[in-house]
Symmetry: T
Subunit: 66 residues, 12 copies
């Protein structure tokens, strides 16, 4: 069994957990058999002196194969 | 004063914060005098193309002694 | 255009996202033109065997200039 | 000349070297002109208190081109 | 909004900046909406005791979506 | 579900894979429910100008519980 | 003798070396006695599928004094 | 032969070397056959604008077995 | 409560501990409420084939506020 | 007692363990009193879509002096 | 085939690329069969508030043997 | 001007500072024009449950040339 690792950045206006969720669920539209993710960076945008977006960079692991 | 460092992985269906909390509170059942924790890895499981679990690996610091 | 990077630790009783938000919003009182932040450490305090505070160390990027 | 880097996890019941080999040879079915790999993580599964699988995460470099 | 991260190695006979530029512009032939890159490794080939090629490994961020 | 992480160094006269296996199987004598390991360091002893021992430092993950 | 370390991001349309130079020279307008810098990140913006800006994050060391 | 790695934080009012020594000697009360330590973090407390404590986080290696 | 992190390099002709102490005590002249420091680099100057200075780069944490 | 650290890359057609062994044994022809090695990178060459060589970069520690 | 890795710091008044080139070409006067280099640090000197020198620390790989 | 970097491990029965000093002064017997050192690892031996030796791994920078 072989897995591929792909790296995606998700965003959310609410929390880092939602940003990671967003990354995974967008990836799931084009890739089957997602199994695991690991967060590698947590960042955010600041607008008008407030946090306006949470970003999570995630490595996504999925099974290769039919 | 000497502290020991222990490493534990907690899980939660809701968020990374709850997963860390879960790790700490389970450790607290067998170890006294927990003081501090540091998150070293944030990961998660994907089931049916959705995030089904958040995992937090935490280093837990506690006082050694009576 | 040049940006300065400043490092701040925010705390929250609720979550890591609130702790990061807190760091950014306190910094915003003395520094103008905040643009971006990156989380570099997630830690927490434990009191009476429960998580009592979430801490987020964040690098904050802001524009230098008039 | 430009190369692309792809990341794949291979498994083997025998050794880390076989796991890396497995990752490379599975990748070779869909990507041409593989040139080089670098191991970035060595892990394994434990079943019934014995090592049951060796896993190697490898970065694979291949030539982009016609 | 979700971004994908891709990793590419560019080469140049002149400088590290040209090598990074080369990586980005080759990637741009097959991927739309490139936004940002980060250099992760700078290397080079030596031929006849002189630097004959500069290599830059770059992580390229691009918007996913139509 | 909570896992504990423990760190152990195994040795072998044959290979890094055997050294990791040795670490896991010795740990298994005192800890139940081992699930996973990650290699964090590969080292070795040299005697009479030859490799005489392979050492593997491994982080071992096991389920906490009854 | 004590030095302070400050972190600044410079940009240039030409090269990473110019971006670092730009960071240093802008910092020099408000800080005296700059001595040394270390590059910690090289990044860039992509516009219309071409590199449009080079960014260099630099740590700047300067003497603290009377 | 298998070694276990344990992580401990020692403190001293005098120096980092004494803090490491303190960590090792406290660990020695409950663990036999300590062989080696590696310092992984050096920190300190500041009280009334002076260093009041040196802390050394050390990984301690000891032989498993009778 | 929010803390700021500042980075300073101290020097001493005697030891790394004195160099860190020196960094902290010089910083204390302009910043109130220092709480904690972490050593990030230990370096030194060599003159006439002997160590002539110990340098410690320290991250200093202090409370922001009135 | 003082040790010197030297860095060498060994290759083997069979395994990473043999590649490390090869590095050590070649170094042993010119350097006396080798004691220890640490693997810092595991890489490999791919030829005709198969792994054709395993490479191990090793830091070798040897005693200075007669 | 075995390669040795050597580490050298080159300087240039013009750019990081020239500094790396300078390191390689000076090393080439005493070492034969240089093949590859990897940049591990980019630093610089500041004089009169301007960048006066670019420094590149490079790991140089060369073939051992006749 | 080009500098070479060499890596040496010094030992002392007293402190980490003496161990670094020892490494530098032993290196000075065979290499001229030492300028700078950076500590990369601090370790120690434990004998009869007490610290019996401090070890400091140092990178030593020296000028190449006559």
């Amino acid at each position: 069994m072989v897995q591929k690792v792909s790296e995606v950045v998700g965003t959310s206006k609410e929390s880092f957990a939602k940003a990671a969720e967003n990354a995974v669920e967008t990836a799931a539209k084009t890739v089957r058999n997602l199994r695991w993710f690991r967060v590698t960076e947590l960042e955010g945008r600041v607008t008008d002196q407030k946090v306006s977006e949470y970003h999570a960079t995630v490595r996504i692991y999925f099974d290769l194969g039919p």
